[in-house]
Amino acid sequence: MGQDIFIKILRYNPNNSQIGHNETFRIEANNNSTILEGLLQVYEKYDSTLAFSYGCRVKNCGLCAVNVDGKPHYACVTRIRDGMQISPLENLPVIKDLVFERRIFSKYLENFKPYVVREREPEALPEIINQPDEHTQLMSCRECFACMSSCPKYDYRQDHFGGPLAFVKLAQLHYDVRDSIDRVKQVKGMGILNCSGCSRCTCISGIPINKIVIKPFLDLLTAM
């Protein structure tokens, strides 16, 4: 059976306070238990006002990313350990506890036609297409916002730096052979030239952001 461990969760309730505070919970866990299991235990046993989100339980939907001891992880596939500090992702508008608002980012993205814009309709369906591997890789982004949380330049309150996920979203379209918009020009407008190239935006789903997004965009822009 499991043993008792303690975890700390950064709580924030917009309904009654303006500052966050840590709360410690005792839960039962074994070597295999995940952070998501820990959160569910807290929720079921002690406090069902704890806000956190999840969907698939297998690093697929991207809804459960949280900061664990300062670094982003999927709660569903990260083992829980005694003394862990769990907090919401950084740089994002926290709604309550571990949940943040995604709509602000969607609104921002709307300025850049975030969909395939074709020059003309295909003649025959299904089209004959070879998408580059980068397209496939980028389309599997979980939109989990972990990279945004790690980026020292991103802040949702400011529009001058789109942030790594915004660059990923435009890169999806840049590599899509069907799309006709100049996404390189757009990504410049997102402020990618202010990226320090620090590579802290490691993707927790394994997308090589620097190699297939940031570096190629910067190379194209400096070559212009």
């Binding site: 309730n13 917009p14 309904n15 009654n16 074994n30 295999n32 238990s33 995940t34 998501l36 299991e37 929720y43 079921e44 069902s48 006002t49 704890l50 806000a51 999840y54 969907g55 698939c56 339980r57 297998v58 690093k59 697929n60 939907c61 991207g62 809804l63 569903c76 596939v77 709604i95 309550k96 949940v99 608002e101 995604r102 709509r103 969607s106 993205l109 709307e110 036609k113 975030p114 969909y115 395939v116 814009v117 369906l125 299904p126 089209e127 004959i128 297409i129 070879n130 998408q131 397209h135 496939t136 890789q137 389309m139 599997s140 982004c141 979980r142 939109e143 999806q172 899509d176 069907r178």
Partner: protein, 569 residues
Amino acid sequence: MILKTCDLLCIGGGGAGVAAAVTASQKGANVIIASKEPIGYGNTRIVGGVMAYGDIDRENEGEDFLRDMIVGGEFLNNQALCKMLVQESRQATMILEGFGGMLGRDDEGKVTSKALMKMGGHTYPRTLLLPSTGPGLGQALRYAIAGENIETLEMTIVTDLIQDGNKVFGAVGYDLTRGEIVVINCRKTLLATGGGGWIYFPHTDVSRSVTGDGFTLALNAGAELIDMEQIQYIPFSLTHPPGLVGIVVGEPFSAGPAGILKNIKGEDILPGVSLKTRAEVANAIILETEKGNGTKHGGCLLDLKENKNHPGGKILYDQFTKGLFKNVTDIVRFAYGPKAASWDEPWDVYPSAHYFMGGIVADEWGRVKGVENLFACGEVCGGIHGGNRLGSVSLMEIFIFGKRAGECAVFEMDNIRKLDQDLINSYADKIMGMFGGKGKHRPIELKRKLQSAMWEFVGPARTEEKLEKGLNALFSIKDEARELNISSDKIYNTEFIDAVELELMIPVSICIAKSAYQRKESRGSHVRLDYPQRDDKNWLKNIVIKKDGRDGFVVEFRPVKLTELQPPS
């Protein structure tokens, strides 16, 4: 309170809802799409990544596909709907790619038979892969909505449809993150809320949001639900550790040509497992463990090792370790360790709730029977898959029916009926009355109670006695749910979410239990230990259930219309 008006309100932001919304918008309708998650989520977001297309080189594909669906569904299917679906099968690919999604191609970038795979229960290869799996699909849906002039209400849970008699005029919801009631007054309303696998949590692989809300919303509006006892338990799901119970790790085809399904004694319990339907494989595991031949985790053993010495099996192995299904291997490693991930150790598997074949009765245009102005499409609809859904057909179905429903809703637009303030207030009061409830029970406590009762008594292995217990448990939960304890916070109140979902889960669960109680035979995914045989003489009938106008339900038995195909006598 926020008041909105539109031509068409789509409830649910998965593939079905988005397909309907985009179609209607392209035809000029003023559309709102509401979802309790962001748009592009739900089960559509987490698909393994297979979508049926149809075979390319064979002339009889239409007939064969139809036969596979009906034989696989054990003759409960609505054959007319199946026929229509099969005829339009390739449309689904065009719709999704029109949104910006991508399906797999051959090496030259063409959709040819080389790009097709064959899944369990399909007699021919006819399925395309989605190279970026569910997340890629979800993002394509978000592209499609962003590209249209559609208003989105994300994080907005619909609690009631607004109706007068048998006519629907919109819906009431609650914006969870802003903490506000939303009232939508519209000409047509469409339900695309998906299935209800979460009713069996943790013994399910569905997304947390898939709680079956739409079934109850439709029931309350006077709609009929069909085949509710038919719940697809996907055969190969994890049995442990606790956090990963129920997670799918394969369907019949993924046993591969040399894979063996064994009991604890090492005996092969289902030769040719990779060619069977999901129901056949799940039922074999269920019956074997009922005999006491299961593992200590209550499962059977899927031994894949021999595939590595088999040419066809080797290809599959590569797909699992490097290719499209790598995510599955990662999960197996996480749960069962490296030897299981490399197929050197067998996997402990048991079926888990994956898909609802049953659902709302609607016609080929998504018009809900018995309720005016109401449409439905996607997994929330019932009848087409009968007793078993073949792998990869759901994605195909949601786009085709989504498009059809969107088209028809626009075609049938009539005048909007303005809601009077008293009516709006009565719905709003009901929602506001939930906040700050001081009852005895926390909503999550009852939700978990319902889920465990459903798994234990109305789950994969059913008997009359268990179903009676299940119904009793559901009725007592229904009573207890009158006394809920809910915080009064308006913004992101998780107890409120649980309470709304609980209230919607209870009626649909009762319908499942009642239908399962009635069907005194085993057919499709419905396994009755006390009636182990399929009984074509008495049970080529659909079970249809609806509300009786008060607090009860009426059950009706309707002979299946065998217009295309008859079972062998």
